[in-house]
Symmetry: C2
């Protein structure tokens, strides 16, 4: 989720490297630490489901037992933050309390109940008698995760990594440093209680320099997941050749088709914009079909303004409702992150589709329509990770989709797209079991034929 | 497939940009061409299966009817190549004949029979009454494909792109320029006969500069597939932030466990090395367990040398069989691409696994063993795209795996791994169909619960 307020990246930029204060991972040993993480991954990848789930249960119990320690360390971070004069919103995200901790523990126990994402057989093919091919999911590798100030992200990430059998290199926000280190101390306890876990399965980086260096090691780090502001994600994407799972922008649209149920349209649009305006799946641009613009807009504008929305309109919109701010070309690419909404009248469905594909960020876009043909055309022609009919864009979320756990939301076109659950942390390998076959037997004049029988 | 001889990349490097000779795609209009390709993709993505399959049938028929034209243009390329003194191997790859063309036509008709890779419902979930989520495969986008001298690659690629509903920007080898342009002229005929195809669904680039420029446009090109030498693939990977599907190296291993059926081991190892030594899935390093090294190696070396293999041994190997060349550390990372094979004696299974994970290229590795525990340990612990038991590494191939079509072989850890079929050219989107739901209804005190019922 994007947050429109001061962000991790700004903290990273302003942060001075201070080895004595954060000694877990000095920069000069980074490469050897990444090598150890890679080796740890190779061990993690061979753990059984029972071993991984037992570690999750231990982790939940250790957090439960150490709640006071965690709250104490978090209190020190908060005291420092108060001294530094951070915003109240940041304070809210930084602060742990007993309720948040028991939610965390419950979250880990819920995750434990999910099926193991690794070891799933995607397909099995009999190539020939005694020659059977299996395509099976396997853990992906070393995952680099850079996140913002919320210290409760760290146990969530660690439990996703345990569940999927990967290794992780983490970097949290500076302002949560003691809270993060406290969680890492619990990881040490966990490793002692679960000797099947390799010590280096989780590594906490302590500086922005270390993150920058890590991005230069595609031989050790297989996937990077930045969880923070647009700027953070864009900086990471620009700085690395490692695949990045994430999204820089969330410019989401709703298009109101002439066949829409206009009574339901206004509350739905207000929900998509205002239910949590800082979220990446919040609405930024409303497209209104000209056939119903004069009928729909006056009432909508009144109710939207009552709900606190600030509307910016195209010329056509302004000609129907007076007194609105004017929307310029830049507004069609804007991710306001607040209660501002750009409104544009479009001549027909195809113009709406073209606008979305041109100006959108391929995140989440919705059509309001009763007409089935218009619905299907929109769903198929809009090139976005999530395409909705008659539902708020705010539904684009791993929890709401029922994924059980969310790694992040991706607008990439490869690997994983949209809200990504545990399946984003696995890939597959092909296992072929034979009894001594050579390829020569299947080539040339007397070649044996392949059976290619799905099992 | 990697080929060890002179490669596309070298041709690209030596090629002078000559706009008059190859006027299909001058450099200065590249960005607008990529924009058109992106727009063409948006149209292609909405074609029905019937429209795509009808285009494939037309394409096959047009190639069949224009065989003489294709052979004539190809003959001009060959005449030029003979004048330039190209190698006989390159000549073989460059040359089209009636047999190759009818194979091509058959290949397109076979592809047509495969299921549409797009439009497959991967999962469907009832979030609530009247709120249903579908995860559906969709075409991926604009695919950039850079390939070598074989002109028969072009119709293969074009048909894969048609079948999957993507758009493509292509660059072939300089020496096949007239053959490639001839195929593109048939694409113009195809577009006239199939007015549902957008004109820009296939674009042929004409210079190395254009390829380099294309790599700078991740906003238009979604995936790059280099089909050629190691150097080509490495250069492409180093030059772009666009995801690359491919593999730079194929350092493949066979490990002979003490429980192996030694009678079958020797022919299998010889097959893996010599059946087509230039292939990326050919064997490069043989690991022999010390428990059976003294028993196995003397007979193996004799037969391998009779089969033309050139063996390089570690110290232990040399102490068992005299007269072998010595293998240095660099040999464990070598992709010989010829009949050379490095041989190393290892103390046990775990040492073999460690060697493979450390020195290998994560492409294809095999164990020869009768012991089930050793087999499973190897399959799970070796971090490669293809892991085999008692079978030649040469089986790692889309045709042999029964994928129906092969886009390439990938050693990446995201998106697609191992031999990649049509599924590598699709991703998925989430389609949510509701009747006016807002997220607010599912939040807070009187929140509606989600059902999350798999359909």
């Amino acid at each position: 989720m994007r947050l429109s307020i001061a962000t991790t990246w700004l903290f990273l930029k302003n942060m001075e490297y201070n080895e004595s204060a954060m000694s877990i991972q000095p920069v000069n040993t980074l490469e050897s630490n990444l090598q150890q993480a890679k080796n740890a991954f190779l061990s993690m990848a061979t753990l059984t489901t029972a071993q991984k789930d037992a570690a999750l249960e231990e982790f939940a119990a250790i957090i439960e037992m150490n709640a006071d320690f965690l709250l104490g360390e978090n209190q020190k971070d908060i005291a420092q933050a108060e001294q530094d004069g951070l915003t109240s919103s940041l304070y809210q995200r930084l602060k742990l309390d007993a309720g948040k901790i028991s939610q965390l523990v419950q979250g880990i126990r819920d995750l434990k109940k999910l099926p193991d994402p690794a070891g799933q057989v995607l397909s099995a093919t009999k190539l020939d008698d005694g020659l059977v091919l299996e395509k099976q999911t396997v853990p992906l590798g070393v995952i680099g995760i850079i996140f913002e100030s919320r210290p409760d992200v760290i146990p969530q990430i660690l439990s996703l990594i345990l569940k999927s059998g990967n290794a992780v290199v983490l970097k949290g926000g500076k302002e949560a440093v003691l809270s993060n280190q406290a969680f890492m101390r619990l990881v040490q306890q966990l490793n002692e209680r679960c000797p099947w876990l390799p010590a280096a399965w989780a590594t906490l980086l302590d500086s922005r320099e270390a993150v920058q260096q890590m991005l230069n090691y595609p031989q050790y780090v297989d996937l990077v997941i930045p969880r923070g502001s647009n700027q953070l994600v864009q900086s990471i994407m620009a700085a690395t050749k490692i695949p990045v799972l994430g999204h820089a922008d969330g410019v989401c649209h709703i298009y109101i088709h002439p066949s829409a149920d206009l009574n339901r349209a206004t509350p739905l649009v207000i929900d998509a914009k205002s239910q949590y305006p800082a979220a990446c799946n919040a609405l930024e641009t409303l497209l209104v079909d000209e056939a119903i613009a004069a009928q729909f807009l006056p009432g909508f504008v009144r109710q939207a303004q009552q709900a606190g929305l600030v509307l910016k309109g195209c010329e056509r919109t302004q000609s129907i409702v007076s007194g609105l701010e004017s929307a310029a070309d830049a507004d069609w690419r804007a991710e306001y992150g607040d209660l501002t909404l750009a409104v544009k009248v479009v001549p027909l469905l195809e113009a709406a589709i073209e606008h979305i594909n041109r100006y959108g960020s391929h995140h989440t876009d919705a059509i309001l329509a009763q007409d089935a043909e218009a619905q299907e055309r929109f769903l198929n022609a809009v090139d976005s990770a999530c395409v909705f009919v008659n539902a708020s864009t705010r539904f684009a979320d791993g929890f709401r989709f029922g994924l059980g756990a969310e790694i992040g939301i991706s607008t990439a076109k490869t690997h994983a797209r949209g809200p990504v659950g545990l399946e984003g942390l696995v890939i597959y390998k092909y296992k072929l079991r034979g009894n001594g076959q050579t390829v020569s037997e299947y080539v040339g004049e007397n070649a044996r034929p392949f059976l290619h029988e799905a099992l």
